[in-house]
């Protein structure tokens, strides 16, 4: 008995994290994504200290001032100002907070509830399973942005409601993934032996089976982090997400739409921030998938 323990857990075997990291770091794109993402987190945390101006302070003498490297720009406003004279760079920096916060909240709500429901469906089987999966089919029949749009119409336009709506829309994917993974794990010997030893159902669900289902769920979490940011920005852009003067990137784009042909910078930079952020997370997601789940490997 002791002998087998040392064989499986001995120091010669690299730790789980080291193994994961060696796969993950092979992917150069994933590393770039990770670095950019961590940078965004730092910008979000330190926004109050980094931002040169307040995100809501209006400089009436400097409306729609171009970025500093263009004619008419000054070093006071590095990326220029918007239509009411707010510093664009400071608003973008504070916007990183919202973006990160939206992604985090949506992933926690959708993954938390989705995994729980998926576990129940997988373990219960029978009519409970059928009922849950049919309900998820119904949610999946609606295009995600459309369903989120309609839910926000019911709940009222605000950032919180937009996050709730997006979380509900993304949740069925977790249910399906978790259920599929559970069904794959259930017939395996280690589950049977845990059952024979007398593990209770809750323990079987969360301690025995769930850790072995995590790989696709983590990959999905990265994917839905970026989807959440995109959809929240889209709702903000349509006037149904965060409300002005919140410096949320999508809302900033909506505010600046009418100046699209007069002041390109007020439109270009917020969108660029969204794109870079989402791209970084997707790069990381690809790396996670390759590292965690060799079966899903793209090539």
């Amino acid at each position: 008995m002791n002998n087998t323990d040392t064989m499986t857990d001995g120091p010669s075997r690299p730790g789980r994290f080291a193994e994961f990291w060696s796969y993950f770091s092979e992917n150069r794109g994933a590393i770039v994504g990770l670095v950019v993402f961590v940078a965004f987190i730092f910008i979000a945390i330190l926004a109050d200290f980094i931002a040169p101006h307040s995100p809501t302070q209006q400089y009436r003498e400097a409306l729609l001032q171009p970025p500093m490297w263009l004619e008419g720009g000054t070093s006071q406003f590095i990326l220029g100002t918007d239509a009411v004279g707010r510093d664009l760079l400071s608003r973008l920096i504070h916007g990183a907070r919202f973006s990160f916060f939206i992604g985090l909240v949506v992933v926690v709500i959708s993954a938390g509830s989705g995994v729980l429901i998926g576990l129940i469906a997988g373990f219960a089987g029978g009519w409970v399973d059928t009922l849950i999966m049919r309900l998820m089919d119904i949610l999946l029949a609606f295009p995600s942005l459309l369903l989120a749009l309609v839910m926000v119409a019911i709940l009222g336009p605000s950032l919180t409601n937009a996050m709730i709506a997006i979380a509900i829309v993304l949740q069925p994917h977790y249910v399906r993934l978790t259920r599929a993974a559970v069904l794959q794990e259930l017939p395996k010997d280690y589950v049977t032996s845990a059952r024979v030893v007398g593990a209770r159902r809750v323990r079987l669900m969360f301690v025995t089976v769930l850790p072995n289902c995590m790989a696709p769920i983590i990959v999905q979490a990265a994917l839905s982090f970026s989807t959440a940011i995109l959809d929240a920005a889209a709702l903000g852009f349509l006037g149904l997400g965060a409300q002005p003067p919140t410096p949320e990137w999508g809302t900033m784009l909506a505010d600046s739409r009418e100046f699209v042909l007069r002041a390109w910078w007020v439109v270009t930079f917020p969108g660029l921030a969204i794109l870079i952020n989402v791209l970084a997370i997707n790069l990381m997601g690809d790396g996670l998938r390759d590292a965690l789940d060799p079966k899903l490997k793209r090539s």
Partner: protein, 334 residues
């Protein structure tokens, strides 16, 4: 095969009923009384209120209301618009061709570029064309399309002055719109410049709506091709000395296309969601813009009808894709 179709229909019908319940509940879940919402700030007399309650059927028990709603759908009756008091069904189908035309153009654009890009990437696996194409695809996949639309407007409409900013055709043209497809109608009208104007108006919305499907199709084509290229029969074809074009184009692509076609079919939902943003930005008079306007003007019967119809369209297309897939690939039928 028949059994497979019946089984697939067996999941279609409960989902359809569920979708109809969701859209039915939509108006009932709204905060406040929908009839009072319709009256707006002016309010209305009690008599008028009772009249409207009866007209929209809100005074009857919920189950009766749902039954009427469900049987109404099957008869092609989605109720009257709060705003225009016209049948929602008619409004939907008056605008739907615009969305369909745009979506078809977008998917053609995505397929014409996405499949060759995926093939080139797969054949050059790991080399620079692969890396360049797949990096571009990932950027496309991550694109906030509403911003992409604004960028294209800045470049092509603002700086270069090549393309118009909004609408389906220049206002100077007027002709009967029999088919609802502007490309066909403008061509049939025979007016000089009408067709060209319709094409100009389509270019930017097509690119914007097609971007994400293009990225998805390119990635999917690449991975499907890679899988097929490692199969024995491809090695045999190579060993026989067939030209790379015959091997890649005929032997491999034909089998790689099966999952790609599924992805194309399943992108209807993406297109519908994208149409909401694209149509709003380009003032394209289709379903997406109509839905957004319906929400902001509180035309909730229109939103309800649109929600149901879009979900049904997505479900029907998915059903067709599944059945076709089962037809091509017998393994799926089990």
């Amino acid at each position: 095969m028949l059994g497979f179709i019946l089984r697939r229909l067996g999941t279609f019908i409960p989902t359809f009923i569920g979708v109809s319940i969701v859209s039915f509940l939509f108006i009932r879940l709204l905060p406040g009384d929908p009839i009072l919402l319709m009256a707006g700030e002016r309010g209305m007399s009690d008599a008028r209120y009772a009249e409207l309650m009866t007209q929209f059927g809100f005074d009857r028990p919920l189950l009766v209301q749902y039954w009427d709603y469900l049987t109404g759908i099957l008869r092609g009756d989605l109720g009257l618009s709060f705003k225009t008091k016209l049948p929602v069904w008619d409004e939907f189908f008056a605008l739907f061709p615009a969305t369909l035309e745009l979506s078809l153009c977008a998917i053609v654009f995505a397929v014409l570029i996405g499949i060759p890009a995926g093939i080139v990437a797969a054949v050059n696996r790991g080399k620079w064309p692969d890396q360049a194409l797949m990096s571009t695809a990932l950027v496309g996949f991550s694109m906030p399309i509403f911003w992409w639309a604004l960028l294209l407007i800045i470049l092509f409409s603002g700086m270069l002055g090549w393309t118009p900013v909004s609408g389906r055709i220049s206002l100077m043209f007027f002709f009967p719109t029999d088919t609802g497809f502007m490309l066909i109608d403008s061509f049939r009208s025979g007016q000089a410049g009408a067709f060209a104007s319709a094409v100009e108006h389509l270019i930017l919305p097509t690119i914007v709506l097609g971007t994400i499907p293009l990225a998805v199709i390119a990635r999917q084509t690449r991975s499907a091709m890679l899988e097929v290229l490692s199969e024995d029969y491809v090695r045999t074809a190579r060993a026989k000395g067939l030209s790379p074009f015959r091997v890649n184009g005929l032997h491999a692509l034909r089998n790689a296309l099966i999952p790609v076609i599924t992805v194309i079919g399943l992108s209807v939902g993406t297109l519908m969601a994208g149409a909401i943003l694209t149509e709003t930005i380009f003032s394209w008079p289709g379903i997406g813009k109509w839905m957004v306007e319906g929400i902001s003007s509180r035309d909730y019967t229109a939103v309800q009808g649109g929600l149901l119809m879009i979900a049904v369209i997505v479900m029907v297309v998915n059903l067709i894709v599944d059945v076709l897939y089962g037809f091509i690939n017998p393994k799926i039928r089990q």
